[in-house]
Amino acid sequence: MTDARKADALHVDRVRFTRGNRLIIDDLDCTVPAGAVGALLGPNGAGKSTLLHLIAGVERADAGAARFGERDLAKMRRRERARVIALAEQEVTDAPGLTVAEVVALGRTPHLGAFAGPSERDRAIVARGLEDAGLLDLAHRDYGSLSGGERQRVNLARALAQEPELLLLDEPTNHLDIRAQLMMLGLVRELARGGLTVLAALHDLSLAAAYADHVVVLAEGRVVAAGDPHAVLTPELIRDVWRVEASVIEHPATGRPLIAYAGIAAPLPMPLQA
């Protein structure tokens, strides 16, 4: 950890977003500390992906602001923002005719001039992204021939090639077997140690508790709890947010919270009021 960069913290202040007539993000505040791995948790439709898109500038918030350190993300130029923030999507769409190395090289887009081709440095960074994601052996394979899990790793490598300071991951462990999930999250944590702030939308609460320094729980477009996983992930919260009965025990080996599900909780008489 000789030349670790100094990371910045992410602050989201009173962000609001509607699509059509539907309020998707409702005056949302949250923070991810500098250099931390933040896990974004919540049931389907809670607004996790939308929040990541708003931070990345893919969608524009109706109100509120997102800051990274001192920088107001909405006021940055698109290219400049894409050099600071990278988003790895969960969707694994087909891109015919591109090799894995070419897909990863797309991450250099915000760093390239209009006319110049990739430089030696660009190639080296792409090579590093491939190596970090364990893709060197697949570099010349056609992207369309990869499995879902391999594509997921390519998405991560592409995001790393952007050389981001803030890495946003939308369900990065989708399609991965358990070993690959642990490796993915282990790698993400190592990257954070090297001076990167991470916010990852995750579904697996135990994995989030094991790897995240900070968790943010969303429900219906609002933050219902945030902070240290030990403090946040309680049986009461899990019942309220996911409508699931669970015990939270201490992992015998790691000491991290471990969520053991017991069954489905009775539905609320009334939906959580927005």
């Binding site: 050099r83 923030i85 969707e91 087909d94 891109a95 070419e102 797309l106 660009d122 190639r123 090579a127």
Partner: protein, 431 residues
């Protein structure tokens, strides 16, 4: 396959690059890649270990000789960015430019009058003022006034249509996109025919552009609107449009605009209106002159060259609008700007040639098979291939049934229709 056979013992490294990696430990054997990458690279990161299973034993990768053991590495793994293609893009470009030059000279000699390449060079030299005229005025006229403009127009139209097709395929993420299939060419024909009837020929390319733009907007609105998707504005459309819907919408638009073109000609024409209608609907390069070269060639230079610089943006669209936006692309503005440019270019081309189909579909797909989907290579090579393709097809159109002429669009459809069918079969996942 010229690759060496994979070693029997799977752990044997093949290249020095792999020798420095220790497989299966989960640790990097050395800290930094040999290229001297910058960034925090000293601490050993846990890396994924790609096992034989992952590496695709039993799974077929295109052209990469999968099925090797854990220790084997694809050729050139140390320089991953684009080493797969066996012939470099630059070599293809040089080869195609040379082929285009040779094709122009040879195509001019083909036809009655028994010209030789030397005659063509002599005529060119004389007209450029660097040689004495040696040909008889009649033969010189055949070279310089008849065949040379026609061959150059064919090349320019072919280059422009192929370029439009490649750009539209990227922006709409639709392998079936092409100026003809999405109705742009038909719209441009209506615009062109109307100003010709009204006798304001100066406005010809502009009117064709307006027609193309109206047709494009109609196609996208139809494809998006009826599907309950987003409104069909130029900026918003494309990402959510399914290829099939878009092609069907293009068919509807092309039918209506084609009928309007026919009606306008039939209503106004005094002479052989059927031939006129055929030439506009199917496309023909008969009767092209140096003005045609100026319009088509000028449009290819003025619009096509800026389009070539959009390669990086088009690449970013490969994974959809969200990914493009996250890579710093202004998605709505870029798409609107680039689609307008294709409409402008299509308008200028159709103004001189009518609606020639399938060139924008066939050539980009053919070039993609050879150099892949990166637009830095795809756009210029598609343009060159399109120029050569249409030049020769048009040479066929004017000589096959000599002295009668075939509208060139009949031949491009004869070749393009089966290619379209092949694309349908290959893209079974298309919705």
């Amino acid at each position: 396959m010229s690759r060496p056979t994979p070693p029997v013992t799977p752990v044997t490294p093949v290249t020095p690059v792999t020798a420095r990696r220790v497989p299966k430990t989960g640790r990097r054997a050395d800290a930094a890649p040999e290229t001297g990458a910058s960034g925090p690279s000293e601490q050993p990161l846990p890396v994924f270990v790609t096992t034989a299973d992952d590496a695709g034993a039993g799974r077929r990768g295109t052209g990469s000789g999968a099925g090797a053991g854990a220790g084997t590495v694809r050729r050139g793994a140390g320089t991953p960015a684009g080493a797969k293609r066996s012939v470099p893009t630059g070599a293809w470009a040089v080869g195609l430019v040379a082929l285009l030059g040779a094709s122009i000279v040879v195509a001019v000699t083909i036809g009655p009058a028994g010209l030789a390449p030397a005659d063509v060079f002599a005529s060119i030299a004389a007209h450029l003022g660097i040689g004495e005229p040696t040909l008889s005025p009649l033969r010189d006229g055949i070279v310089w006034e008849l065949r040379m403009p026609r061959v150059l127009t064919a090349a320019a139209v072919g280059a422009g249509l192929a370029l439009c097709g490649a750009v539209m395929q990227a922006l709409t993420r639709n392998p079936l996109a092409d100026p003809y299939l999405l109705g742009l060419s038909s719209g441009a024909s209506v615009g062109a025919v109307i100003v010709i009837v009204l006798g304001v020929g100066l406005l010809l390319p502009f009117a064709a552009f307006v027609g193309a733009l109206v047709a494009l907007a109609a196609t996208l609105a139809l494809a998006a609107g009826a599907g309950g998707g987003r409104a069909g504005s130029l900026g918003g459309a494309g990402g959510s449009l399914t290829p099939t819907r878009t092609v069907l919408a293009g068919l509807a638009v092309a039918s209506v605009f084609g009928a309007v073109t026919s009606l306008v000609i039939f209503w106004s024409a005094t002479g052989d209106s059927y031939r006129e209608i055929l030439n506009w609907l199917l496309g023909s390069l008969a009767g092209t002159d140096w003005t045609s070269v100026a319009i088509a060639g000028g449009a290819v230079l003025v619009i096509g060259i800026p389009l070539l610089t959009s390669a990086k943006t088009l690449d970013a669209f490969a994974f959809g609008d969200t990914a493009a936006a996250a890579l710093g692309v202004h998605v709505g503005r870029s798409r609107a700007l680039l689609l307008t440019a294709t409409a402008l270019l299509t308008g200028a081309l159709v103004a001189v040639s009518g609606s020639i189909g399938f060139v924008g579909l066939i050539l980009p797909h053919g070039v993609r098979l050879i150099v892949g989907s990166r637009h830095r290579a795809l756009l210029p090579l598609s343009a060159l291939a399109g120029a050569i393709f249409l030049l020769w097809v048009d040479t066929g159109a004017r000589t096959l049934f000599d002295p009668r002429e075939l509208p060139v669009g009949i031949l491009t459809a004869l070749i393009g229709g089966p290619v379209f069918a092949l694309l349908l079969l290959r893209n079974r996942g298309l919705r």
